[in-house]
């Protein structure tokens, strides 16, 4: 294990395994590449020099396109993807199951029900400004309910997942009812939201989401050790001295907050939370910080590229990014299912 180094600064100490970070660096470069290609491509394609010029002169025509239209949307997509990926990684760790995702805890369905309810009941009066808040609140309430229902002298991953599936079904039924009973135009906009889209993202959206994700990342850093221990059997973890129930609650809450934030701004983008952590685990075998960073970067790349495909492939139409996430995710997911059989 020549590539393990100990990093010590005062009371802070970490064992750092260097090898996976080279791959993380490579994925970071890929992230930058996809960021720049997302900036360059669109209805008005820009060459490298034109892109540089546009970036340097924000007040020119192309500068406006890049700074006011493309960049906020791309950053929003990256934040949404990263947050969903991190949430998925956390949940797979806590539930000790590679098929867990923000969907299984009722996060997505809670947010969907709240958002569609808002769109069909309140949006006519108060506009769609409060939509993210409604969605985030719905996600948190749903997770809280799942947790409460699964609580019986503590929780187990199994009961959490089962309750999540049950509550998801209930909330999906409510969503369907709202969709069927509201006006057709509302149904359409709700459907676009449900598919997941970062259409029309602006700087204030980016700023608000970035603050939320930054706070969650700090919490994540503090909880990192426990996130790694969550994969260990309950009895063993208690033996080591982990307060299992407290930590499980904290990690689940963190995952719910992350997914709630992402869903609030990006809509119900399916599968990022399932796929990105899996790819990351394939690239970085050892659970640890490198794997987490890898998950986040991959989630960001997936959503960015999906959004790029959505807004360029079928011009002049602007299709929701969730569509392409599903299209990319499906074969991967099927492979995963089949591999589970072995």
């Amino acid at each position: 294990m020549a590539d393990v180094r100990a990093l010590r600064i005062g009371g802070f100490s970490r064992a750092i395994v260097w090898r996976p970070w080279w791959r993380v660096l490579a994925v970071g470069v890929a992230l930058l590449l996809s960021l720049s290609s997302c900036l360059a491509l669109g209805k008005v394609p820009l060459g490298p020099t034109a892109l540089w010029h546009a970036l340097c002169t924000p007040s020119s025509d192309t500068g406006l396109i890049v700074w006011q239209l493309r960049l906020p949307r791309i950053l929003l997509g990256a934040l949404v993807g990263g947050a969903l990926a991190l949430s998925g990684w956390l949940l797979q760790q806590v539930m000790r199951n590679p098929l867990a995702s923000p969907d299984t805890l009722g996060v997505t369905s809670g947010a969907s029900a709240a958002a569609v309810g808002y769109l069909s009941l309140l949006a006519a009066d108060s506009g769609s400004a409060w939509l993210p808040l409604a969605a985030a609140a719905g996600a948190l309430v749903a997770v809280g309910l799942v947790y409460r229902l699964a609580w019986h002298r503590g929780t187990t991953p199994l009961r959490l997942v089962l309750m999540g599936i049950g509550l998801s079904a209930l909330l999906t039924a409510a969503t369907t009812y709202l969709l069927v009973s509201s006006a057709f135009s509302t149904t359409l906009s709700a459907y676009v939201w449900l598919t997941g889209s970062v259409y029309g993202g602006n700087w204030s959206d980016v700023a608000r989401l970035a603050v939320g994700v930054a706070v969650a990342l700090v919490a994540m850093g503090a909880l990192m050790r426990h996130a790694l221990l969550a994969g260990v059997d309950d009895a063993l973890a208690v033996g080591i001295g982990v307060r299992v129930q407290v930590m499980r609650g904290a990690l689940t809450l963190l995952a719910a907050v992350l997914a709630g934030l992402a869903v609030a701004w990006g809509g119900a983008i399916a599968f990022v939370g399932l796929i990105a952590p899996h790819l990351a685990k394939r690239l970085v075998r050892i659970p640890g910080t490198a794997q987490v960073v890898m998950s986040i970067a991959l989630g960001a790349i997936i959503v960015m590229l999906a959004d790029l495909a959505g807004r360029t492939l079928f011009l002049p139409r602007d299709l929701p990014a969730g569509l392409f996430v599903a299209a990319i995710g499906a074969p991967f997911f099927l492979m995963l299912l089949i591999r589970q059989v072995r």
Partner: protein, 340 residues
């Protein structure tokens, strides 16, 4: 056959089945009478036996309420039996077509045909729904069975939930791209037995009924299979063949249900539980009962769906989910299921 009757039922079981069949008739009558316009027994009698072409009530009963009642009864029975077979086959009390992605698979194919194919004949759509159901069952089957051993409930349900999410994501995507398609399949997504003329549904109804009857010869073998695969092999049951036949029956029953009524969740989960609780764990006793209970439940759910918020209607699939999801959660809490 043995000390019991033709289907091995004891007298008590036969009486129970008879009582529930009586309830079924009652539920069908209520379903014919209830609605935005309540008809008394006399009007119903008149409409059924001596209809006049000018009487509005008679027309109402014959053209809208009769098809819907028949559909609800057959779909409820099919779903109840499909769920029961699935639970026996996977040896998992939480297995059900809706939860394992079968409905979503069938719906996805239908949405794909409607949005990409345009005006296709109904038969093509129906076959497509079957294909989707079969695909989903095959996938779930592949995940649920590892080298012939059933896997725990957690893995099975997660696979089902993920599969459902996958199919839904695709359906949604297609519907966002083709927005005209949305209007025509929306009520299907929600599940409903309303407004489906019998003319187009006859073939599927008959297929479902045949599949229901076709379950009869396998009841005894399922009893043995429920005791475990090794036991079944030891007892001389051709396990592989039985499993294949069971999967085929599930595909036909669940596929026909989705084709007829769209996405109706949780009936396949609840009904077998009720039936097993009322009868003994003997398939010859509880599976027929499950068919009858399924029909009764879906009929009553449909009656509730169309009368609760008059003049509007709650989609039937929403209604069953609203009733069934709390039951599911109660089941999970009560059982404190073992680790999977």
């Amino acid at each position: 056959m043995n000390a019991h009757g033709r289907w091995g039922q004891g007298r008590r079981a036969r009486r129970r089945l008879l009582a529930w069949s009586g309830l079924l008739l009652l539920a069908m009558a209520v379903s014919l009478m209830a609605g935005s316009r309540w008809l008394g027994p006399e009007a119903l009698w008149h409409a059924l036996w001596s209809p006049s072409p000018t009487n509005v009530d008679d027309l109402l009963v014959r053209t809208t309420r009769t098809p819907r009642t028949l559909l609800a009864a057959v779909v409820g029975a099919s779903l109840g039996v499909a769920g029961g077979i699935m639970q026996t086959l996977t040896r998992n009390p939480l297995a059900a077509p809706g939860l394992l992605g079968v409905n979503a698979g069938a719906l996805f194919v239908v949405v794909m045909l409607v949005t990409l194919g345009g005006d296709l004949p109904a038969a093509v759509t129906h076959l497509g729904a079957f294909g989707g159901a079969a695909l989903a069952v095959a996938l779930v089957w592949g995940v649920a069975m590892r080298r012939g051993h059933s896997v725990g409930p957690l893995r099975l349900l997660l696979a089902g939930a993920a599969l459902t999410a996958l199919f839904h994501a695709f359906s949604q995507a297609l519907l966002v791209v083709d927005q005209q398609g949305l209007d025509s399949v929306l009520f299907w997504l929600a599940g409903s037995v309303a407004g489906r003329p019998l003319a187009g549904s006859w073939p599927m109804l008959i297929v479902a009924l045949i599949a229901l009857v076709a379950c009869a010869p396998f009841l005894r073998q399922w009893n043995v299979l429920a005791a475990g695969e090794a036991v079944a092999i030891g007892a001389g049951v051709a396990v592989r063949r039985l499993q294949l036949v069971s999967v085929a029956l599930i595909v036909v029953l669940a596929g026909a249900s989705v084709t007829l009524a769209g996405n109706i969740a949780f009936v396949g989960l609840i009904v077998p539980h009720l039936a097993r609780r009322l009868a003994t764990p003997d398939h010859r006793e509880w599976l027929p009962l499950a068919a009858v209970i399924g029909a009764v439940l879906l009929l009553l759910a449909d009656v509730a769906a169309r009368t609760l918020i008059l003049p509007r209607e709650i989609p039937l699939g929403v209604m069953t989910a609203l009733l069934g999801a709390p039951f599911f959660m109660w089941l999970v809490r009560r059982q404190g299921v073992q680790h999977g």
